[in-house]
Symmetry: D3
Subunit: 239 residues, 6 copies
Amino acid sequence: MHIRVVVPAIGETLIEHVRSEVAGWAALDTKVDVVSLTRGTASIESEYDEALAAPGILDRIEEAASDGVDGVFITCFGDPAVHAAREIINAPVVGGFEPAMLMALSLGENVGIVTVLPNVVPMLNSLARRYTIERRIGTIRVIDLPVLSLVDRVAMLDRLFEQASDAVAKGEADVIVLGCTGMVGVAAELQDRLAANGRAVPVVDPTGAAITWLESSVRLGLTPSRTTYMPPPAKDRCV
Amino acid sequence: MHIRVVVPAIGETLIEHVRSEVAGWAALDTKVDVVSLTRGTASIESEYDEALAAPGILDRIEEAASDGVDGVFITCFGDPAVHAAREIINAPVVGGFEPAMLMALSLGENVGIVTVLPNVVPMLNSLARRYTIERRIGTIRVIDLPVLSLVDRVAMLDRLFEQASDAVAKGEADVIVLGCTGMVGVAAELQDRLAANGRAVPVVDPTGAAITWLESSVRLGLTPSRTTYMPPPAKDRCV
Amino acid sequence: MHIRVVVPAIGETLIEHVRSEVAGWAALDTKVDVVSLTRGTASIESEYDEALAAPGILDRIEEAASDGVDGVFITCFGDPAVHAAREIINAPVVGGFEPAMLMALSLGENVGIVTVLPNVVPMLNSLARRYTIERRIGTIRVIDLPVLSLVDRVAMLDRLFEQASDAVAKGEADVIVLGCTGMVGVAAELQDRLAANGRAVPVVDPTGAAITWLESSVRLGLTPSRTTYMPPPAKDRCV
Amino acid sequence: MHIRVVVPAIGETLIEHVRSEVAGWAALDTKVDVVSLTRGTASIESEYDEALAAPGILDRIEEAASDGVDGVFITCFGDPAVHAAREIINAPVVGGFEPAMLMALSLGENVGIVTVLPNVVPMLNSLARRYTIERRIGTIRVIDLPVLSLVDRVAMLDRLFEQASDAVAKGEADVIVLGCTGMVGVAAELQDRLAANGRAVPVVDPTGAAITWLESSVRLGLTPSRTTYMPPPAKDRCV
Amino acid sequence: MHIRVVVPAIGETLIEHVRSEVAGWAALDTKVDVVSLTRGTASIESEYDEALAAPGILDRIEEAASDGVDGVFITCFGDPAVHAAREIINAPVVGGFEPAMLMALSLGENVGIVTVLPNVVPMLNSLARRYTIERRIGTIRVIDLPVLSLVDRVAMLDRLFEQASDAVAKGEADVIVLGCTGMVGVAAELQDRLAANGRAVPVVDPTGAAITWLESSVRLGLTPSRTTYMPPPAKDRCV
Amino acid sequence: MHIRVVVPAIGETLIEHVRSEVAGWAALDTKVDVVSLTRGTASIESEYDEALAAPGILDRIEEAASDGVDGVFITCFGDPAVHAAREIINAPVVGGFEPAMLMALSLGENVGIVTVLPNVVPMLNSLARRYTIERRIGTIRVIDLPVLSLVDRVAMLDRLFEQASDAVAKGEADVIVLGCTGMVGVAAELQDRLAANGRAVPVVDPTGAAITWLESSVRLGLTPSRTTYMPPPAKDRCV
């Protein structure tokens, strides 16, 4: 199985980091490669960024389609260009939000998302409504760190714990979902720290959820519905 | 008052047509100018097209912001880049869907949309859910004509009448919304034809709804909420 | 264009005040006249008041219909008799709630209403559900001043600011709607004061929203759907 | 226990008929008296009629309150003035819709209402949304007979059977609710006829549901919540 | 009328207590008998308990069916085995949740449930969603006493008052429903104590609501819909 | 990884069949064993069957917990005893409904379920509401074959194709979910046959969805939330 990971940001700096993180989640016989964008933004933290990144992402989807990959992970929690991508490739495509949130639904009643900045909260609410799961979101919290500051793992973990712990204590969350695919390599430790503090709730890593979701989809032979995701009509396009 | 109309398509051919249509709806003291895109697609009929058009639209929004316009109409029923635009300009921005649908809510119980192609129906359902008005949509019908074929006014009107009339007859629509901003200059005639056939329901033209919505917003001094539409953080962007 | 404003209260004292307020919102070429009731109550602050005011309002709607007015504004945030009125006149009819709330939906995610007394909160919740927009109401606050005390503009503004500011600070509101049409002439100042205190959210005046809504409806040629608002069957009526 | 039945129509002609019907449902030790209106309309078949009948109904509620009755049934399926009434009396008040629909919810999945005229369908949808039970309504059918024609019992039963049977056959209804309190004395026969034709679904009579609902409420010591139904503030009222 | 009360717990100790409580709510001409289980659990405080109790409850339903009783009350607020029971008996069957909650809907806007332990809160939320009334639940509170400790009436009442009073004060409840059928004989006193403290809201006793609900259903001739509750197909069953 | 499959039916006849089917979906390094019940019913086709099977299923869950398995699949589309099971084992537990439906949500807009008998349709609607995904179900169809007749693969496939094809053609389904875990080994062929007939929609096999769901959950280190699924309090239990 061949999975293509699209980092929806310009620059090469994130690629190695993502590659090793994804490798940790993928099955042994899953081949993973990682690409970033040649046009787009340095990170996605607004509707504006998401819109600017979309054409660069779709370039990569077209490549993936012609490369015959089995599945594509656009590694951003805002699911940028995911629905457009499904129109142009016969393989499952996910971002981080949809698989992480759907997995969370099977683990507990109210889902608490902990994300980076207040700027993205309206986008996440919009996604939840688009997917009709808004009634299961108990809270959306922020750690007030931009995506590109997540390299400070200790600060990130402390703030995640603070928000997640408070959300569980107040009865607003039974499951925690990490609300940024840049929050890598902390889910297990956060889950353990919560349990050690009397808050035994599962913590869902969106990268892990996405990779296993794609693997499952491929094994089940499932690709996007062509009555929902119809191929775009031919026309002039100049982008 | 100065309203900027952004035709979210490449090429100059539509500009004059849109300008005269918009002039018909605008108040006498409203100044309207119309621009199209330098990068994008010839029309928007899929999530894919919408994603490709977004950066070109946002170019025009940045111009509008620096020109100090009072309001912006992105003339497409799919509301492309509308939410991203609101993050970067202190003036009301609408597409065709939101103002037309909200006006329709005050006119009758179930809204019937008649649009161009089946390809866009999932997008419209997603928009309706995003705006939380999905329970008021009674039906979404298509006339199976692409956007660029809408120049055949007679065929367009006949098909619109056929679908709208059937939707009203079956109790699926109490108000008709034209589901493409390219369906210009037919709302009044469709409304009359329906009434003449015993189906007295209002027909909402999305261009007219958008222009008057913007004028009202400007007169009321209303601009996008900065707690929902926060300015995007500074970062590298290469698009 | 000729718009009739119905003050749904007995007595003449409010008429001049409403007339000047409405004139401030209306377009230059809109003719506005204002009438009050010959039977009803001094103000509407309960379901009971609303029920007692309805026949007097409908008297005025029948007059408006025979006078051939182009639109009717029943100037109360509880939308009293609005749906009954639509059954008996071929012109758009609105109260304060529907146009203000629908305009607010296009400005931000969660709408916060600030109204007069706790007595009317259940009515507003019922209206929101009737119009299917209840999921967008983030909070309903009260300033605990009865309608007829709103003449003390300073006290009203202070209390409005206190409630609105707190609602925005707590993340319960991205847009403020003034929840009583008696709160005249304060929207802009409240909006400015909120912005000056770091809460840059729009404030919707229901009178302004209603007047521009009617003007837009008239320009768009839209009247109530006759499949939703059917003319009442003939019968004995003695009221 | 003393229950007051308010026929929300002018004239005395219906009183005896209602009295005998209600007596058939009431417990032996329940005292029932029946009054009609001195101002209002001959029947309620529109929002307009409902608005015109409300003050006359509220006259009767005030009498009931001063007479110290234990419960009030406003015998109309549109629940006219029910919420206003609850503000001014310390006793349970119901119309026909609420108790019949809530009883129906415990009997099967989808409720099918069969009512008189298409004019009242939007009112019933609005009530269902107000009470938040709209998702359980499978269909609203009409027999196209005005309220005052329901004296032709054979025609009424035939049309009720036709609509109810079709609704059950199409999977749109698991329970039938008679959608007019004027459809008296037919529920049991309709239920039997449906069962004899292979459609074994319960049929709820709104008068029976209302009377037993009030009796249960009184036995349970339940009266309207004063945080929802606050007493109206004192003021001038001239109706 | 003959009503069978099934105590869904093993052991005889609760029977007399339940019998006298039920007798206090039933009409004079209603015959009530009470049975408990020969297999099951000592009380129901989890999904696990509910699942283990179900076959023992269904034994009792089959007996009730062959005894020809007119209605069955399974006296637990979690409605255990209620829907299975309706498939195998031609008589109305209720638990405590459904009738108490539906009665509460007619009394005020937001319903506050006060139950025993946090363990059952997810079950109650699931029931509310199953019955589609989740939007009317304002809060679910717990008194943190297990079912079998409810014999300490003073402690129970104090904790109920504390939770109910707080819920009303915070605007989270307009009606209180006792969330365990073991909370017997306290509804009226709690209601009085709340009123004496300025919180005039009704308090619904689930046992009283269930008994009067069944009596009403029987008087109205209503039994479970056979299109929702179809008789189970014949097959091997070994339980 | 060690997954335990619980066939929630009495008798050994299905075990081999299920074992080979499951083996086809599981990863190579997943150890699967299959057990059936010592008490319960021959199949589950009603609420009644589900209630009777639950204690026997929970016996198997307790065994699984003491055997230290990593995940449990209760192989029935009605998710029998799934929530009770989660209270008593620290490993993910799924039935067929939840994983199949959640996977389907990522593939297209409206999900069409094709199940065995009309008897189970209300159960599936109840599950959908419990999981809050009811708005995404476009249709529930039946092939009118009992579970134990599904051995006739040709008849099953023909009827599945007939229902699925019709659902897609009418716009009621964009994704098909097989609504019985006894419909084994037909998903791929049904998907192909639909595509060959111009209905290119994915078909989800609930067994495959469940097995891969569990594998993903285990790899992600996710177990049931202990704030939703609390351990049952100690007490007498005699079942």
